[in-house]
Amino acid sequence: MGTRAQLLGGLAFLAAAVVAPFLPDWVVSLATIAFANALVVLGLIVLWRAGLVSFGQALYYCIGAYVVALIGRWIGFADGIVLVLLGGVAAGLVSFLIGFLIARYREIFFAMLSLALSMILYGVLVKTESLGSTDGFSVLTPTFFGYTPHGEALNLTLYWFTLAICALSALGVGAYFRSIAGALAAPVRDNEIRVEFLGVSVARVVHAKVVIAGVLGGLGGALAALAIGHVDPNMAYWTTSGSFVFVAILAGAGSVAAAFVGSLLFEAIRSLAVDLVPEFWQMILGSALLVTILFVPEGLGSLVLRLRRRKAKSP
């Protein structure tokens, strides 16, 4: 299963990279943002496998984005690669600290506490003039190890860079899912006490998941900041977290690929809906979420699995 999925995933990423120069500019930048957001969704899927939903993933998203923007603003450093890694590291550090606290919580309390933490950051950013207050501020144009692309070339470079980070993350998370710590997710979700009796510290398993999700959130936020070219406190608002949760539920926790496909679909539908029927956008979102929960509770990814299973059964 593992190697075949890796091969397929690798081919998919390659295909996504190869077609880019032939696509219009706006499609590429849209896809860049979609892939950046997919990293956050991937983090949510890591948590969701253990039955945890974070309504505050925007915290890490925002930290990643602001680290990129602030370093650019304060010391004028603009190397995209280093900045994105720093964004991931910063979010990872914060999630490591928060993990000591939040790993004790489950279910709604986990969701609520993460929500509160992200709202704290929102409150701080909105009220701090030196951090741009409600308007936020713009991000420097990134360079890549001395290479300074402009216009379309920049767009493409950023897209390829995002794809590369995504591919690496997908590989890492896939390996994590196959490891023992990753495989413990379902038992933790079903019955923690029994897992404890096996001699495993559930708190540590959950803590690891929080950090993984945090790093992915930070990377996603950093990439999004470069792609959008602007950061503002709304990146930490709870509705931002809500839309990530939305994509995660829509995609389902079944596979790593679901996060990327789900995020691309979401971004495509969003830009279509905002263009055609802006007043119904949230209604479409809500209805899609309801239909998914009621009829495809395992997420859209499970439809593919279901199909494959049916094929395997028939001679």
Binding site: F109, A111, M119, R194
Partner: protein, 300 residues
Amino acid sequence: MLLTVLSILTDGLAYAAYLFIIAIGLTLIFGVMKILNVAHGSFYAFGAYGAATAVGIYFNGHDWYAAGGFLFMILVAMAIGLVMGLILERGLLRLVYGKDEVVIVLVTYAVFLILEDMVVLIWGAQSYAAYQPMVAAGSVDAGDLVLSNYDILLVVLAAFLAALAYWALKFTRYGRLLTTVIFDREVAAAFGINVTVVYTVTFLIGAMLGALSGAVMAPKISVTLGIGVEVIVLAFAVVAIGGMGSIEGALVGALIVGICRAAAVHLVPQIELFVIYGVMAIVLIVRPYGLFVRAQPRKI
């Protein structure tokens, strides 16, 4: 100095009253049904818009008593809450009972998103003002402080609701049935309590309280898009501090948040937003499930 302390206390009390009126419906629904109802923000928004419309009709060119306008506004909002609650509980939530608590949160989140756009469809994108009841209520001078009568009215209303909830839960037949369901749904059902009806009635009361909170706030704010989004996280914070499902918890939570926010506004305005969630995080660190929650048995 004394004036600052006094104004922190009075402002805090008024804000706490407002928070409590919002939070009581949310905590009631959670306590009985174990549903963290994100759509409570929509009840609030619909209540506020309904109240603004009602005030507009009542005061437009008429010279009727302002108190009547206040009552009319509340009645309209509660009727809206009743209808919305009925549709939502019977039409949708009934289908998802028994699913994971977190999944039900997402269901109510979906409803919240849909209702956000419904507001635009019904009332349009412009904002409404419904200041008449507040202006008509006037204000009193207490020494150097000027207190709005409307704020005093809100505090009285919050106290009345708290007393009513306490009395209804402890001393009425329905309240005792409710307490049984809160403790253990299955055992209550086994004793012959019609849990389905209890759920519906609870949800309706919660929805009406949500709409009521929007209505009484409408004169104090500009009724505009997105008011539900802000309010729901505030109500979450209050309920989480007090302990989800506990009414006395909601009261204490509202007081804590109200006073802390008022203190922040008067002393260090930069941390106004921060302080609410900061307090929540601190309380949850010390008491993971809130101040007033019974210890839960571990099920193996």
